[in-house]
């Protein structure tokens, strides 16, 4: 894909250029904000990697100008500014993602691919994997190590909620609100569903964090 990189720092710019070339992407590197708008009009890019602190202006101004013109180009901000306000401002102005320097290169590439795919109108991810469990949201299928597992509607919703946010503990309240049918607010109900789910899926999938909630580990 073709990437426009607006980054004033020489060391980072050169290194990122090498990364993009090694990955087989075409990259155009600008070190100032002023030529960016003209460049985006004259050439077509798949994505913009935008640094915020530029010598002749702020990266957010470039983004604002871009969005004011109605250009729907996916933009990934890379910045050292890590406060919540800065990140929210970036998203408010229409950034598709925000990565804080320093970052891991694989993460940059994954996020870049994700925003480009989203801009092409690709379907939402609907296949979830954690360890040897696979869950297909669209077809409502669950397999463990290739063996199909039959779940009730509530159990499927519970497992889907947990797998969508694998590696994160979901509190009982969150699980009850998102996965249980409304009205089933009693605290034992959740335990019963989890107990049944565990019996069907098998051990070592759903971990309990006592006093907090449950989680599914992505890599076991």
């Amino acid at each position: 894909m073709k990437i426009l990189m607006i980054e004033d720092d020489l060391a980072i710019g050169q290194a990122l250029l090498s990364v993009f070339q090694d990955e087989g992407h075409t990259a155009v590197w600008l070190r100032l904000a002023q030529g960016a708008a003209a460049r985006m009009r004259s050439e077509s890019f798949d994505a913009v990697v935008l640094d915020l602190g530029l010598p002749d202006g702020d990266g957010t101004d470039v983004l604002r100008a871009l969005r004011d013109e109605g250009v729907r180009l996916p933009v990934l901000i890379i910045s050292a500014r890590d406060s919540l306000q800065d990140r929210l401002k970036g998203f408010d102005l229409g950034a598709d993602d925000y990565l804080i320097k320093p970052f891991e290169i694989p993460e940059l590439l994954v996020r870049l691919r994700a925003i480009v795919r989203r801009s092409h109108g690709a379907l939402e991810e609907n296949l979830w994997v954690a360890g040897d469990i696979e869950l297909d949201e669209n077809r409502m299928l669950v397999t463990r190590a290739g063996q199909s597992v039959t779940l009730s509607k509530t159990e499927f919703a519970l497992l889907l909620t947990l797998m969508k946010q694998a590696n994160r503990v979901l509190t009982r309240v969150e699980l009850e609100r998102r996965a249980l049918p409304s009205g089933e607010g009693q605290s034992q109900t959740l335990d019963v569903h989890i107990f049944n789910l565990r019996k069907k899926v098998g051990d070592g999938v759903i971990r309990t964090v006592r006093g907090v909630g449950y989680m599914v580990q992505r890599d076991v």
């Binding site: 720092d9 060391a11 980072i12 290194a15 990122l16 090498s18 990364v19 090694d22 890379i78 050292a80 500014r81 890590d82 406060s83 919540l84 804080i100 320097k101 320093p102 970052f103 891991e104 290169i105 590696n167 994160r168 503990v169 979901l170 509190t171 309240v173 971990r207 964090v209 006592r210 006093g211 907090v212 909630g213 989680m215 580990q217």
Partner: protein, 446 residues
Amino acid sequence: MFSFAGVIVSVAIIGVLWMFYEAKVTQRTRTFSENKAHTLNILSHLVDTGARPERMLPALAAVEVNRERMFKELDYHSRVRVRVWLDGRLLYNSMPELPDVLPEVAARGAYAWVGWTAHDAANRIVVERRHEVDDEWMLTIWGVSFLLSSTFFSLPLLLIPAWLIVGIGLRPLRSIASSIAQRTDADLTPLPDSKYKELSPLVVAINGLMHRLSQRIEHEHEFLTDAAHELKTPLAAIQINAHVLMSRAGAEMAERCAEPAAGLRSGVARATHTVHQLLALERARAEPQVAQACPLTNVADFVRERVATAAHLAVQRNIEIEFDAAPDAGGALPLHLESMASAVDNLISNAIKYSPQDGRITVRLTRAASGYRLAICDGGPGIAPDLRDKVFERFYRVPGQEQLGSGLGLAIAERGAARNGGTISLEDGEHGRGVCATIVLTGAVG
């Protein structure tokens, strides 16, 4: 210079001079009146003798003896001259050695004299009595004590109003002092204007100092934040270049360089972690200029959320983490969420970091006397009691440990807790293993 001390000294000098002048005048009038009475006394004695010289002279001698005895008893040193004329002829002179005319005004080495002359009805007997005015009496111990005694005994009367004036007058000053004393070290907001005009220069000066101080602190804060931010760009460059280097090295090279590559990656990760911790430390600092909302937050829900966020790290290392909220710990406190979260997160992250594999961490929330008590206990190596104050110092790390860290976690936690009116202490862990980090929250957000 016209100063308060100058005014006091001049008033004292004028007072003393006035006192001496007054004493001098009084002494002269009193001596004059006494002398006049004595003169008339002598005259009446002499009239009684029937104007016969042989009876007058012994009477005059007796009067003189009586006077001398009295002067001796009273320790008077002034001189008295009595002269008596009978039918125009000088009959008696008690001090013939003195000149005829005596000075009325004091001069150098000579006292002033007062005098009175009296005569009988037939104008046959004339009595003249002159008395030296004893100025030096004032300089004797009797004179001085007489003059000073009034001042001395009036001292309490002077001091009571002075004491009242100082007490009442300093009351506004005391209220300013106590409002300064009650402040935390982070509170540099200006003092309210004093309603007393005399105190406004003090208030203005203190507010000026506070303003300069907070500006300076703000500059240092900005410097530290900028310095930390500046480090991120070179760190990012190192990280990206390391990635390019490893991805371009062939499979064989990658195998040979696996160890230094891992070292490079963990070095960058550690530096990045330190930079982020530094920024978190600065963010946990109370910012008096920015009034930030501290929403009323359910403490148990808040802690449960923090445990949920961190728990996957524990689960990855097969550490069991458990949250236990007492049934009565469901109340809400005003919390500054960002700093409180970084306090709790750092304590949980420490507990996970130092717990052994298959260890156990308990996060326990209970009601305390005036708020909540959050204890985070691990089963790790623990911290020796004599190091438990030292570990809160920035960049201090317990010697001989293998875990990587910035040495800032507890400092951040302490600042974050302090911003929420809490304190952190470290105690022995449960069953004598590990350490319990305890935050006591009172809900007094700073």
